[in-house]
C-alpha cells in the first residue's frame, strides 16, 4: 500500500475518482456475449476477459447523432459500409474519409497532413458500442476532412476448456485506429501489415 502520494499521484487519484463517479450504473450481464473494451485504443484478449461480439444481428453497422450542443456522435457497431457512414456524416455537414481494414492491417503513415491546431474534445473510444467517435462543434471545418482508419481482429479463444490454472481464454478483439482532421487531400490507404501485435 502506497499511503504517501505525491502531488501528481494525488491529483490523478482525484480525477479517477471523479471518472468513476460519472460512470453510469451498469448491471453486469454475463449470459450473453458482449464487447467489453477498456480505455485504450488497443485492447486484446487476455488482459481483461474481453469478450468477442460475433456480430450484433440486425443492429445497424453505424449511427450518427447530433446533440443539442452541436456535438456529433458516431457509433460503429460493425466495421462495415464505410461509404455509407461517410454519406451519413455528409448529411451532418462533415466530410469524412473512413477506411475499415480486416485483421492485422494498417494504413501506411503519411497519407494526409493533419491540421495544425489542437483538436480538443475529439475523442475516439472503444466501449460497449464497439467504437464511438465524438466530434465537438467546429472540429471539422468547411473544406476539411475527418479521416479515420480502423482495423479490428477478433481473437478466438485458444481453448474452451479451463487451463490447469483455472483460466478460460474467452478470446477478444484487438483494434488499431488512426484518426485526425486534414485540410488537404487524403491519399488512398496503402495497406501494410500491423507492426505491433
Amino acid at each position: 500500500m502506497n499511503a504517501q502520494l505525491d502531488s501528481f499521484e494525488t491529483a490523478l487519484l482525484t480525477r479517477l475518482r471523479e471518472h468513476v463517479d460519472q460512470q453510469p450504473a451498469v448491471r453486469p450481464r454475463f449470459s450473453r456475449p458482449r464487447l467489453l473494451l477498456g480505455a485504450a485504443a488497443t485492447v486484446a484478449a487476455a488482459a481483461a476477459m474481453v469478450v468477442v461480439v460475433p456480430g450484433l444481428g440486425s443492429t445497424p453497422a453505424y449511427s450518427v447523432q447530433e446533440g443539442n450542443s452541436g456535438t456529433i456522435t458516431v457509433e460503429v457497431q460493425r466495421l462495415e459500409d464505410a461509404e455509407g457512414l461517410e454519406a451519413e456524416l455528409a448529411k451532418f455537414g462533415v466530410k469524412a474519409d473512413i477506411t475499415y481494414l480486416p485483421d492485422r492491417q494498417e494504413c501506411a503513415a503519411g497519407r494526409y497532413t493533419p491540421v495544425d491546431r489542437t483538436l480538443s474534445g475529439m475523442v475516439v473510444t472503444m466501449g460497449s458500442q464497439l467504437l464511438r467517435v465524438t466530434l465537438p462543434p467546429g472540429t471539422v471545418r468547411d473544406g476539411e476532412t475527418f479521416v479515420m482508419a480502423v482495423s479490428g481482429e477478433a481473437i478466438p479463444p485458444s481453448s474452451s476448456e479451463p487451463s490447469q490454472d483455472g483460466i478460460i481464454d474467452m478470446g477478444g478483439f484487438s483494434f488499431w485506429t488512426d484518426f485526425d482532421v486534414t485540410a488537404g487531400p487524403v491519399q488512398p490507404c496503402r495497406v501494410v501489415p500491423s507492426t505491433v501485435g
Partner: protein, 189 residues
Amino acid sequence: MKTVEGVAAIGRDPDALEAFYREHIEAVQRFVARRVESHEDAADLTAEVFLAAIHASRAYRGDAAAPRAWLYGIARHVVASHHRSTARALRAAIRIDARELLDDDATDRIVARIDSQRAARGVYRSLAALPERQRAVVELVAVDGLSLTEAAAALGLSAGNARVHYHRARRRLAHTLPQPLADPFEVTS
C-alpha cells in the same frame, strides 16, 4: 485489497478504486517507466492504465489472475497502443490529461524513475521482433519480473503454454540480447 469484490468494484465505487490505486500506483508507474522515456507520456499512460482497469473491472475474476498480474496484462495493451498510435491520435483519445497534473517535484520523481529503468527498457525494445505471444510472455517475465505462472494468468494462457513461449523466445533471442534471458522464476501451486 485482495478480494475479487474489491477489484470488481473499482469501476463503480470510488473508495474501492482509491484502495486499488494506492496499492498499485507505484507498480504501474514502474511498469510504464520500463517502456517509455518521456515523463509526460509516462504520466498519461499511468492514467490510461487505471482508466482501462476501471472499464475492465466488471469482468474481473479472481480465479483468473491476481490483481497485480491482471493489471499488468491490461497495462501491456495500453502501452502497446501507445507505441502503435500516432502521437496525435493518442493525445486526442486521452480522457485525463495527466501530464497537465505534473508539477516540478512530481516530474523529477518520474524522470528519476525512468532513469532507473534504462536497462529494462533495453530488454523491452529488443523484444520487438518476437511473435506476439512470445513477446507478451517474455515481457512480463524478463522485463517486469513476474513468475511464469503469474504471466500466464495475466495473459490468459496455461502455465505450460507460457513456458513453451518463453523458451522459444529465449532460443530466438540468444544471439541478439547482450545477456541471455534468465531461467524464469516459476511458482507452482
